[in-house]
């Protein structure tokens, strides 16, 4: 199934885009989807970033199960203020 991945800050730079479409297995969790996305990067150091996940503009746990067409935001450590 296809999901949309939203990317910000250093992850936007790493992926070279603010959003990408990702093909994942049906029933994939957000952490599985993120791992697949990170595996596509040449630079493996991003896998170690303490990324949080958001679906539908709310934070979700690592084991949240995605559905076709979901938008998953990868939230690197925030630094507002």
């Amino acid at each position: 199934m296809k999901i949309e991945l939203l990317l910000f800050a250093q992850l936007r730079d790493a992926f070279g885009a603010g959003s990408v479409t990702l093909e994942v297995e049906a029933g994939a969790t957000v952490s599985v989807a993120a791992a697949a996305a990170f595996a596509s990067l040449a630079d493996q150091r991003y896998e170690k970033l303490p990324v949080r996940f958001a679906v539908g503009e709310s934070f979700v746990d690592d084991d949240f199960v995605l559905r076709e067409g979901d938008t998953l935001a990868l939230i690197p450590p925030v630094s507002g203020g």
């Binding site: 910000f8 800050a9 503009e57 203020g81």
Partner: protein, 145 residues
């Protein structure tokens, strides 16, 4: 991208500041005589960080979620403290040292609750509202913090 129409939560490219009439008028412009304390917070871009000279900061946000998360945070703070979070605004885009990046205004009947609520609000904002900054340094480098 347009700004959130709600006057209480804004993420904006435009300069932000504490309104001159903040002591006497709430976000609706009405006098607010029920609250005896108004605490304001301004976050300002520093010219040094971690021993390095900072030339500027680029702020970006996930605007839809930042607006929702800040709105949830306001409800949370108002549930935990006897206060009203009058408004908050965060700049996005390119800022220079001395520019105001964050403004928060909290009202309460008495000052202690407003001070405590402000401290908690800013701590939680910095922990979870999706805003990021990239600092530019005098040595021609830059990094996301």
């Amino acid at each position: 991208m347009s700004d959130n129409p709600s006057p209480r939560v804004r993420f904006t490219e435009e300069p932000i500041e504490i309104p001159a009439d903040v002591g006497t008028a709430d976000t609706t412009g009405r006098a607010d005589a029920a609250n005896g304390a108004v605490v304001t917070f301004s976050g300002v871009v520093r010219n040094r960080n971690d021993g390095r000279d900072v030339l500027g900061i680029f702020y970006e946000c996930y605007r839809e979620m930042a607006t929702q998360e800040a709105t949830r945070l306001i409800a949370e703070i108002e549930g935990e403290f006897p206060v009203r979070v009058d408004r908050m605004a965060h700049r996005v885009g390119e800022l220079l040292p001395g520019d105001v990046s964050l403004v928060v205004v909290i009202r309460s009947a008495h000052r202690r609750a407003a001070f405590d609520a402000m401290s908690t609000f800013v701590d939680r904002f910095k922990d979870r509202v999706p805003v990021w900054k990239k600092e530019r340094y005098a040595d021609d480098t830059a990094s996301w913090l």
